[in-house]
Symmetry: C2
Subunit: 240 residues, 2 copies
């Protein structure tokens, strides 16, 4: 246990907590007060720590993500379920009423038109519906669903590159930085891809949001560079 | 108060709570138990409710955002400060140590190379530094800072379009859906742009993240469409 903690860089108290919560399999017991931990323990520990400390996910959500990663379901279902578990963390209060039903129809039409998954139980779909209803509540009920295209288009190519890279990311998370020259042994390749998606989603969400805010600041700076121009520019834009 | 609640669609208990917290100016008192609320109250109420219910911001953070919106600072500073207040909500545990210092150097070099703001107190910059250090902790210390370019490029054009539209958004939030044919009166145009940025950031963050997860699911589905191909494809990719 002490060596496991040293190699992984995770405090023993944290490891014991994960064991107690069932997020980590017990080591192979070799003596009454000794157990050995192998590569698969190390890999799982890294994943749990990333989900907890980087993603800020609740223990219950981590448990569900791990169940999906370990499950023997069809890969497509598993990717969806992993995305659901991560998405639930971000979900706001569920909306109801006629505006929510209209938002649901508009979101489903948008997803269908763009070839995106529209499983009824998808947490990402629910999040889009809630967001569209909130946006219309704040900005006006005539806010067109087509505007969602700005946001979908912005991340489409990024997501494609990320999925293409996710096997590699999962592999690296699995075997550390040694790279593919390490003997892969009996690794589960599907699990490696799913771990790549989990890492990619959780670790890079703050990166995406931070860059969007920085570009807002940068372009707002351009726009208000000259106080007089600014007021004229805004007047024109607001009256357009 | 009852009519203010009816027009805004916000329960009186919530309005009273905002008044008590100083997030909303008291109405103009016309009798001991009567006060009138005007357009500026309605606009502020909409903004506070969006920050609270959509953005999930803490009262203290909302107070800081409003102070920035109302402050008489140079516009550029205000946009930065509003972005900071929103960004703080998303900040994870602050990292320390040599890896964090290396991440800070790499992030600052990246921001400078891309013409992005690198104010020392920027919460977006702090978030990028934390994220890069976490990513390297999980995926390997050789993870190159240039990979941040994927994420910056994905949202650059989006942010530019959003800032260009933010005067319009602020205007609509201000005057409802009536559009520019309403007499704008004595509105504060800078505040309208800032409100637009606040709305745009808070309301559309869940949209951006939900679409990224949906595209992940969609492209992972492509990739694993054939179980046999899947395993071969992953083997190739993992061994590359």
């Amino acid at each position: 246990m002490a060596e496991f903690s040293r190699i992984s860089g995770v405090p023993t108290a944290t490891i014991k907590f994960y064991l107690r919560e069932g997020l980590l399999e017990p080591g192979h017991r070799t003596a009454p007060n000794q157990a050995t931990y192998d590569e698969s323990h190390l890999r799982r520990l890294r994943l749990v720590r990333a989900l907890r400390e980087v993603g800020g996910l609740r223990i219950e959500t981590i448990r569900r993500v791990l169940e999906s990663v370990d499950g023997a379901e069809h890969p497509w279902n598993v990717v969806g379920r992993v995305c659901d578990a991560i998405g639930e963390t971000h979900r706001r209060e569920r909306q109801a009423g006629p505006e929510a039903r209209r938002a649901a129809r508009d979101v489903d039409a948008f997803l269908a038109a763009n070839g995106l998954p529209k499983r009824a139980e998808s947490s990402s779909r629910a999040q889009l519906i809630d967001a569209l209803a909130s946006i219309r509540g704040a900005l006006g009920t005539d806010f067109p669903a087509e505007m969602l295209g700005w946001y979908s288009d912005a991340v489409r190519d990024l997501a494609q590159n990320e999925v293409a890279a996710s096997g590699e990311i999962g592999f690296r998370a699995h075997f550390g930085t040694g790279g593919p020259d390490l003997e892969p042994g009996a690794r589960d390749e599907m699990a490696a891809m799913l771990e790549g998606i989990v890492y990619g989603t959780v670790l890079f969400e703050p990166v995406l949001l931070a860059f969007r805010r920085l570009w807002h600041e940068r372009f707002a700076e351009d726009r208000v560079a000259e106080p007089d121009d600014r007021v004229r520019g805004l007047s024109r834009s607001a009256r357009r």
